[in-house]
Symmetry: C2
Subunit: 437 residues, 2 copies
């Protein structure tokens, strides 16, 4: 009987780990609580009505139909049991493992203010994206019906909290929608008059980028019509707006807004806590599990943690180990290394430490607007504007899973580029909490 490897989560890390086990004499069980792999870098396009959900989500089962050593299971993992070597599901079922890879990813964090969640949804899942799409589109509809000037202004004020890549993409695209997609379609309001605010607590947007590119991104945002407020800490959020603290010298002020999006904080999946408890591993402040150089959990060589759930370091002989950032290339690389290390163990070989290959960083802002920070083998390249946008576009389409998705995304973007229309402007149910498209 062959060795049973269970992988929890089919994001970039889990998917890559399962792929790396192709052809190996092992039985892989890939468990996820959804039925699809989500191409998260384009999720903001679903939230802003530029793409439909199926364009960026592929059924996991379909992706592995030809890799016969992979079994796909739909289920929500609530616990792991290292003594019994079992993964336990919410519905009471369980699945045994010889080796386990935990790749459950991250969720958004409100820094202890979970009461903000209903007023400022984050963007991690398709359901999140539909909720944001619903709120954005309905805010313009409500504004069209509203005659009271103050309430009218609140409906047309959109606030994105957090100046990382997701916040920048969302704010830039909201500005595009307001300035270019919707004008001409309303009779009582001018959508181009909408206020798009991007609030960042730190001193610049895109802090993972070089300062020059942060400044460029900020200029490009301004050009698209986004008001960027730096050093702006959010101290309260409710259904009518939010309160912002701009520094110790100034009193907090209020922004009336009916559409607030949270792109500020990320925390590890709650499963990280569970893994740490079950194995005695430590977890860091963000809830990530601290792992060995080979990505296994200390004292549990049969359990590896990868991706956003791992507090991992990059090891290179002669250098200080460096923390690995929570980005998708790192998750994919960890997936490959964790899988390879399991195969090494099965062959009786020594495992190898994880080394993160950083190829750089890129972020888009809007039509023709992006910043790219590339580490090529030859030199370090920074560029922005239209060339960066083209680079971003083709990089993302290249990495999209499945040929059909690539083609449809290209068509959608091609037509959106020329017409500035966003075709996925569909809200299935108007009531909050109902189902959307």
């Amino acid at each position: 009987m062959s060795v049973r490897i269970v992988i929890i989560g089919c994001g970039f890390g889990g998917l890559e780990a399962a792929r790396a086990l192709r052809g190996a004499e092992v039985q892989v069980t890939l468990v996820d609580r959804t039925n699809h792999h989500l191409f998260q870098p384009l999720l903001y396009q679903v939230a802003t009505a530029g793409l439909s959900a199926p364009a960026i989500a592929a059924p996991v089962r379909h992706l592995f139909r030809k890799q016969e050593n992979v079994t796909t299971l739909l289920g929500e993992v609530v616990a792991i049991d290292p003594a019994a070597r079992l993964v336990r599901f919410a519905d009471g079922g369980s699945v045994p493992y010889d080796h386990l890879i935990v790749a459950a990813g991250s969720t958004h964090s409100y820094f202890g203010h979970d009461e903000w969640a209903p007023h400022a949804p984050g963007l991690k899942t398709l359901a999140d994206a539909f909720e944001i799409r619903r709120r954005v589109l309905l805010a313009f509809e409500q504004a069209e019906k509203e005659s009271d000037p103050a309430r009218h202004a609140a409906w047309l004020t959109f606030v994105v909290i957090g100046g990382g890549p997701t916040g920048v993409e969302l704010a830039g695209t909201l500005a595009e929608i307001a300035r270019h997609t919707l004008p001409g379609e309303f009779r009582h309001i001018d959508p181009a008059g909408a206020h798009i605010l991007l609030l960042e607590g730190g001193a610049r947007v895109l802090q993972a980028m070089p300062e020059k590119l942060s400044a460029s991104a900020q200029r490009q945002l301004k050009k698209l019509g986004v008001q960027v407020r730096l050093g702006a800490r959010v101290t309260a959020i409710d259904a009518e707006g939010l309160e912002v603290h701009a520094g110790d010298d100034t009193p907090p002020y209020r922004i009336a807004s009916r559409c607030i999006v949270w792109a500020a904080g990320v925390a590890a999946s709650p499963l990280g806590q569970q893994v740490a408890q079950a194995t005695g591993a430590t977890s860091d402040r963000a809830g990530r599990v601290v792992v060995e150089p080979d990505l296994s959990v200390p004292g549990h060589p049969t359990i590896s943690v990868i991706g956003d759930l791992a507090a991992a370091k990059s090891w290179l002989a002669g250098h200080e180990p460096r923390p690995v950032p929570g980005v998708s290339p790192a998750a994919k690389q960890m997936g490959r290394v964790a899988a390879a290390n399991i195969l090494r163990r099965l062959r009786g070989e020594a495992t190898q430490p994880f080394r993160y290959h950083d190829y750089g960083n890129l972020a888009t802002i809007g039509r023709n607007s992006a910043v790219v920070d590339l580490w090529t083998p030859w030199r370090h390249v920074e560029f922005s504007g239209w060339p960066a946008w083209m680079f971003w576009l083709f990089a993302h389409i290249y990495f999209l899973i499945g040929f059909r998705n690539r083609l449809v995304v290209l068509i959608d973007w091609g037509s959106a580029y020329w017409s500035r229309e966003r075709y996925a402007r569909v809200v299935a149910d108007i009531e909050p909490g109902a189902r959307d498209a």
Copy 2:
């Protein structure tokens, strides 16, 4: 100040009425409770994961962006007030009218058994389609996990109730999914072994078609792997299955099924009842408002009712008036006539009676399978199989609103035709009642 025309509902009837008023010196307000026009003939494709929602739903606001006399309003109409000439919304607002066209359409009817609704969803809205998609895809997932043979069989038994066009399309497509899309992707079950049942209370499927085509449709269904049961009346539905009465001579029997779809009954929107009460009009057994030959409500020349909400007759000099069927071409024709009659009234001319031009009937069953019953000016044509399917395909793509949708639908179908894959196999939230894609 120009004349105010309010249109309730932006299905085929309302949309066509608004379009027919292009260029007229009137102010049109188009009210709907969703933000999109839905191409309902392809809704079953969304329910069966062949198309994404945005491919068949276009934002109403966008469709009328260039028709400047149209204002689009999102709102749920709860009442009309003929004395005050007001349409009242659920949120307390109202909008005044000089002429009113009510085109609120139909909903599914459980023939007095509303308790069946949670166990057998119908297919009218995008939200319905997502719910059916969720149930179909998750039934296969549950079967893959289930070891108990009886429960396993119940997960793999799909029952469609009602042998009209929607029921036939759904059953045929479910058979396609089970036989051709999913095989090879599961490790524990054989999806091709799923049972697809189509229950029809009457003596044949597609009763609006000639008998020869009904028989052909039934043969094509059988070939696709659908079990058709005629004369089968459903007497109970619960979470575990349903009870069927096959005639007075046989006792009722049970079918264990975890995925039941309701395609049997249609009733007028509840707004029909409201209009009848407010105007003193009569409504028929299905809740439709009985209208004058010119589609206005008796005694209320400023109010017209069209589409599925109207119990209308087709008038042709020298012939008995004939009831108009609840199909989209009839709704579109009524929309045009109602709009033209309002303009005639405004010019002081006599209104004209509605005459329904019946061009025939078509229904698809699955890949390469359809039936077509055409009334051309020259002769009556019936055909089925592959030519009928091609005809159905191009007719539907031709009538799809918006060029982009047509292109994407063509691509989706082209790729689905060759690969037999269905790309929209995405369930956003696994929990029932949650949001889907």
